[in-house]
Assembly symmetry: C2
Homo-oligomer: 373 residues x 2
Amino acid sequence: MTAHSGTLTIDLAALRENYLKLKNIVGASCETAAVVKANAYGLGVQQMTPALWQAGARAFFVALLEEGIELRKTLPEARIAVLNGLIRGAEKEYAASNLIPVINTLTEIKAYQALAKELGKKLPAFLHIDTGMNRLGLEDHEIKEILQNPQATEGINILCIMSHFTSSEERESDSCARQYEAFSAVSMNFPGIPRSFCNSSGIFRDSTYHMDLVRPGMALYGLNPTPDQKNPMHPVIKLEAPVMQIRTAQKGDTCGYNETYRFNEEARLAVVSIGYADGLLRSLSNTGSLFWKGHALPIRGRISMDLTICDLSGVPENIGPLPGDHLEIIGPHQSADMVACAAKTIGYEILTSLGSRYARLYKNERTQEKKPA
Amino acid sequence: MTAHSGTLTIDLAALRENYLKLKNIVGASCETAAVVKANAYGLGVQQMTPALWQAGARAFFVALLEEGIELRKTLPEARIAVLNGLIRGAEKEYAASNLIPVINTLTEIKAYQALAKELGKKLPAFLHIDTGMNRLGLEDHEIKEILQNPQATEGINILCIMSHFTSSEERESDSCARQYEAFSAVSMNFPGIPRSFCNSSGIFRDSTYHMDLVRPGMALYGLNPTPDQKNPMHPVIKLEAPVMQIRTAQKGDTCGYNETYRFNEEARLAVVSIGYADGLLRSLSNTGSLFWKGHALPIRGRISMDLTICDLSGVPENIGPLPGDHLEIIGPHQSADMVACAAKTIGYEILTSLGSRYARLYKNERTQEKKPA
């Protein structure tokens, strides 16, 4: 159907290539897991995870218990770990769906031990050690308590101990080294247990950090894990939206809500069927651009809920666009990272904000370029 | 199930009361339509529109053809108008679902006439006159062409001519008066045809603007249409999310990604299972607050995709919260408009950004306060 909505094209072949690239970097002695929380960063967990499985991923990380239960339906054999921890009162749900809680507190350990006792078997867990995020993870005094008491983790099969970098994409920061040192000091006390530290950017920092399991997310989805260098990953998504109307603003006219942009001269405008309800963040008002045949079309005025106005004045009139033509929001001329930069945020938020009104096309072949209807 | 996700409670009784309040303001000679585009501003079109119908709404506005087709399934008898206009190549879809295009260009008029001719009957439309948004709507030269040619709208049953305010919530702006003047000049040429101008804030500006049909959206959903005054509307939503961990940051510690917040003294922190993937905009990092029993808990550090850290230091320790307790994000102590203000955006974007991971509870009775599980 010809439609008002934009089209989000997702390249599963690029996703698989990105997975294999990361796997190749860390080598065979380290497992490459896949972080697929938040609906695989907004791109569709039901479509993305079978492709990752096909590429060889066997361990997956979600944030929420609910996400783990859903993912289990798609991937019956995968190891699935739940980053936000063990929910009090829902311990049995983890066991029922064969999920691995990432345990963040002593209280969680105790609740999980009680379940293990009740079920009469050891239960699997990751242990999360905080090394500076001050977000989730065992604190120093909790780790001491565990180390002082041999029964502290009885009944729990610790598959891995892990921590999380705060600033692995910042080359100038010494935080990785500080966190690594803290983690090493703790992990010495868990001899023989696999260790995990790296997110996407961490993988590109130093092979010392790879350890036994890496947990990339953003790099799988084509965001740049090395922001100070050329993006080593393949782009995974393309986002386009149709022009509704081409119109002419007169000199002195304004456009959009609250008259925030005034034209110094006559301007040709394209009104495009995409707005902040679709995840084109309102902070891109008067600052972001859309693209047509490689020409940047600056956004004029405030982005509306369902519409965005952009300026065609820099484009030769004979090359279009015409109403019905699709403009590029994310694609060969503008990456999700570039959109994020204009919106003063990060590519992750651009992806997780992608709205539900788009037609979503999943491509399986890199060579086959499917044109949106 | 006890869960990691937050809970979004939506008060359908408040929605109905808001509708009736607006209907009462404009009086019996003016129809009160309901704008339900973008999934009823993110709140769930399948649940919100039957409640609005029950309150007496008979005319509904969506943005996209696809939204109109979906809404037709829920409301078989409603008048449904499609704001983003008539899509080239999909004209028959409007007729098939009995949708009313809001016609924005001469090209759309001609395409719609061709369909009317083919079907051998007059087809209904709204005509949108641009009066300063420079977004969608007929331009001056197009209106002249229509007025000069008696056949220009033949085959089309013009149900209403409409325009849209740019700044109706800004009391100091003279834009409403300017736009009203422009609209009046045009509408004189369409004698006997109903007229519509007002969005939510317009309804509160001046009864002159009410005309024959008003089109509120945000006020129905409890946002404040009179931002310089007390909100006259009932709050419709409540958003809460559970605490995962209570932890202590030491003096000199940082928290969250990129170490953007440093503690000058020891601080008790709550780590909450909500992040920007849930629509808690990342721009609230280090600036927004969550609430517990009326105490504001400032957000510390960067909001993550699935987690937010807030500061409990101002709360007496004996009143909690404990892990598992739900903190207020939107509710009696903090409106969606207040969240928007902290995020430097508007309440509309807070609503349309609400994520898909929440448990969504729809309440039908005002008195019955349902506690999330």
